[in-house]
């Protein structure tokens, strides 16, 4: 058992080294020093408390999305639509804020309502993909992708249309809410401990849900063999829908955090690609919840660390995406190589 884990670890490390090797070659090909790039990315993310706080700001939505995706992956669904579900979460949160802002209700209540609203918004968008899948036979990958583009367009429409700033609409988004309506942040840092707490609660709940409950086992059965699960008496399409709803609610919470704890308004790229990145994290951890926290933190670090690259090294910040993608690719390939060898032996 121990030996097996050791071999597995060696493969992971091999994949990691190969990924960094390939990305180093890419960097060399554009005449940049890989060492400088990695160093800048590291200092840009973990170099100071302020920067680490930024990493945590990115970590919160990423972890929430990953947690949600573990539910849909369990039931055998490729919920690519998670990106749009984050967006709709943000839109719904903004809507709730706009609705209650002048109501005179206590800010804490409004914040709570806004976050719950975001979860509902994300869940509704996920339910759309779910209905298309369950009742229309539309593969969730295509249904989800289509809905992602629609969600982004909806954001832009709202920012430039009904919700535009008094005077002139702009890419900078809607009018920010007063400070007392956002989740409280740590002094001088942008990270809100509330947001961090919510994301950690999310992953812990998902862990226990999938690990030890009837719900989780049934979800797994539906994911591994829909037909057999149905014949065993499990209400299969309901469970598919439940997993969409759980994922949508968590993705919606991620969108809500983006509005309530980070931007205090709706901006065009409110999801920041965390939906797609969450899919990568879920794949990298091979759908095991225990690894979600460290890997999401690592990926958030790469994202934040690359922000400075255009200024420091004239490199595009999409380098982080390349590094993350190559890493996941090599981990998948390494898993394949390992299976091939262990089968032969």
């Amino acid at each position: 058992m121990f030996k097996k884990q050791l071999i597995s670890l060696l493969y992971q490390i091999g994949a990691l080294l190969l990924a960094f090797g390939v990305v180093s070659l890419i960097l060399l090909s554009v005449g940049a020093s890989p060492w400088d790039a990695y160093r800048n990315m590291f200092t840009g993310s973990f170099g100071s408390m302020r920067k680490f706080a930024e990493v945590l700001v990115a970590f919160v939505p990423l972890l929430l999305v990953t947690a949600g995706l573990l539910a849909t992956f369990s039931s055998g669904l490729w919920n690519i639509g998670v990106e749009g579900q984050v967006v709709l979460g943000a839109i719904a949160t903004t809507w709730v804020y706009r609705f209650f802002l002048d109501s005179g209700l206590p800010p804490a209540l409004i914040i709570t309502l806004a976050i719950l609203g975001g979860m509902v918004g994300g869940a509704i968008w996920a339910a759309l993909a779910g209905v298309l899948k369950v009742f229309g036979g539309v593969n969730e990958i295509f249904g989800g992708l289509g809905l992602n583009f629609v969600a982004t367009a909806l954001t832009i429409y709202l920012i430039f249309g009904p919700w535009k700033r008094p005077g002139v609409a702009s890419m900078s988004g809607t009018v920010p809410f007063p400070d007392e309506f956002s989740l409280p942040q740590l002094a001088a840092l942008r990270i809100s401990p509330w947001a961090l707490g919510i994301s950690l609660v999310g992953i812990v709940v998902i862990y226990f849900l999938l690990q030890g409950t009837y719900f989780g086992l049934r979800l797994k059965a539906v994911g591994k063999n829909f037909r057999a699960a149905y014949l065993l008496g499990i209400p299969t399409w309901q469970y598919s829908m439940y997993s969409f709803l759980v994922c949508g609610a968590l993705a919606g919470a991620a969108g809500a955090m983006q509005v309530a704890a980070v931007y205090h308004r709706l901006i065009p790229s409110i999801s920041s690609g965390y939906g797609y990145l969450g899919l990568m994290v879920a794949m990298l951890i091979n759908y095991r919840a225990v690894w979600a926290v460290p890997v999401a933190l690592f990926f958030a670090g790469l994202n934040i660390g690359s922000i400075q690259l255009p200024i420091l090294m004239k490199l595009d910040s999409s380098l982080s995406g390349v590094l993350q993608g190559v890493l996941v690719l090599f981990v998948l390939l390494a898993a394949g190589v390992r299976q091939k060898f262990s089968k032969k032996a």
Binding site: Y214, R227, A229, Y230, L231, L232
Partner: protein
């Protein structure tokens, strides 16, 4: 062509499928390979036809020349062609495309020339196949005919047939046997693989018997049946007396039920099934019996008529309401539809129970699994993933998952591919449930199984459904005629 196999071994993991097999088949012979399911017959034939390779050390000698066969393409190149048990053809494509696929030649096949060859060969054996028809509209028997002429066209001089008499009608079988005798008369070597004594006895010049991967004996006509049985099983096997049902109250009632799918329609079926009764459904594949059995489970909605379960009208309801009334459906494809690969036996037993609370009590689950594994004699541990169980043990696991109380079990091919001991065990368990008041409806392409275990039989042909027949007063021959469309009083004679 003379075929000689020398010292053939084949292992999968640490299980030997073939152990040191030596066999010599002279040209012009019909050689029977007899053995029960799992005896290693198919493996041996797949080796000879190049589908898989034997372990190093064995030899295949054709007309005195040692020959290496790396692939089916190699095999057909040296003149060996095989008909697989599940026809390896392309159902959504046309007959002619299936026929010419695999022929070598230029970029654009000459369809006219191929069509002429096809008609000539089909005519030669009196096969009525339409080259423009789609293969998924053919019966298994017709697909065999297509495959036979295809292999002959490609120059096969050795023809291997793996269990070819399963699922075909009596007249298709007669035609197949005529064809094979004719081919043998022309000097072809025929290797006929079967677990059916009667077929082997009627057709083959000589028989080799396989048991547990080893060749345990060879014999020639005239055969002594008891001898063959002994070689096949290594001991005496008794199927036991037929156990007629002590029929109780009506469990399932079908009133003028009509069913429809893309291919066929079934009209106005009336049937009453009493508790403890076993109903066998016979018919060639795709004759409507699958549609029928699924409608009895609520998996297919009838287009007309009513379905009553213990007097309650369940017409139009889906499977879960049927299941709540004690109806269980066990599909033919165990790993595709019946069990969940990747989950353990324990997981399955937990899933089949009603959830108690939010969290799973793993200790209780383990205990449940231990009990069931013991009482159903499953060779596996509670934490064994179901996909690594053998076919017989998977079927036992499925039986262990049947709910209690149970009013009706619907089974598709409950014993397909299983060895005789598993078959007997499984029917024993099923009959136990009958004794407790459950009724059974099952589909099988094994007519003997149907007559052995049913009380009444329904025969399906092209959407027609016969009146229930008393199984004790019906013969295999009669059933074979009926599934081919012959002997239907008042309903047009046909044979496909």
């Amino acid at each position: 062509m003379n075929v000689e196999l020398r010292n053939i071994h084949k292992h999968f993991g640490n299980v030997y499928a073939n152990k040191g097999i030596n066999l010599n088949v002279p040209s012009g012979t019909i050689q029977g390979i007899l053995g029960e399911n799992g005896a290693g017959k198919s493996t041996l034939m797949k080796i000879l036809s190049g589908f898989i390779q034997a372990d190093p050390g064995g030899e295949i000698i054709l007309d005195g020349t040692p020959t290496v066969i790396q692939s089916p393409a190699d095999a057909i190149h040296v003149g060996i062609g095989m008909l697989h048990q599940d026809p390896l053809d392309f159902p959504p494509m046309r007959v002619l495309d299936n026929f010419l696929l695999g022929q070598s030649g230029g970029l654009f096949p000459n369809r006219n020339a191929v069509a002429q060859d096809f008609k000539r060969l089909a005519g030669q054996f009196d096969f009525s196949l339409d080259p423009d028809n789609y293969v998924d509209a053919l019966t298994v028997g017709e697909r065999q005919q297509l495959e036979i002429i295809r292999l002959l066209w490609l120059g096969a001089r050795v023809l291997i047939l793996d269990e070819p008499t399963t699922g075909i009608s009596a007249s298709q079988k007669a035609k197949l046997f005529d064809t094979l005798k004719k081919l043998a008369g022309q000097g072809m070597t025929i290797i006929f693989v079967s677990h059916k004594l009667e077929d082997v006895e009627n057709l083959c010049h000589r028989v080799a018997v396989l048991r547990a991967g080893e060749l345990v004996g060879e014999t020639q006509t005239p055969y002594v049946t008891a001898n063959l049985v002994e070689m096949m099983f290594g001991k005496e096997i008794t199927l036991g007396e037929r156990q007629p049902a002590k029929a109780g109250e009506i469990v399932l009632a079908l009133k003028d039920v009509s069913l429809e799918d893309v291919r066929l329609r079934i009209k106005n079926v009336n049937l009453e099934v009493r508790s403890g009764e076993v109903i066998g459904l016979a018919g060639m594949e795709g004759s409507g019996q699958d549609l029928f059995i699924r409608s009895c489970a609520g998996l297919v909605r009838p287009v007309g008529g009513r379905i009553l379960l213990k007097g309650r009208d369940l017409t139009g309801k889906s499977y879960h309401p049927f299941k709540r009334e004690g109806v269980n459906f066990l599909p033919a494809a165990r790993l595709e539809e019946g069990l969940v690969p990747g989950l353990t036996l324990t997981d399955h037993f937990i899933l089949a129970e009603e959830p108690r609370g939010l969290f799973i009590d793993h200790a209780a689950g383990q205990k449940l699994a231990d009990e069931r594994i013991k009482s159903f004699n499953i060779r596996g541990a509670p934490l064994t993933p179901v996909e690594s169980l053998s076919g017989g043990n998977q079927q036992r696991a499925e039986l262990a998952l049947l709910q209690s109380p149970l009013s009706l079990v619907l089974l598709e091919h409950p014993t397909r591919g299983l060895d005789i001991e598993s078959v007997i065990y499984i029917w024993g368990k099923l009959k136990e449930r009958c004794g407790q008041g459950a009724s059974i409806i099952f589909i099988s392409s094994d007519l003997e199984e149907i007559l052995q275990y049913s009380d009444r039989v329904l025969v399906f042909f092209n959407g027609e459904v016969s009146d229930p027949m008393d199984a004790s007063k019906t013969s295999v021959e009669q059933l074979g005629q009926l599934i081919g469309g012959k002997g239907w009083a008042g309903k047009g004679e046909a044979d496909v």
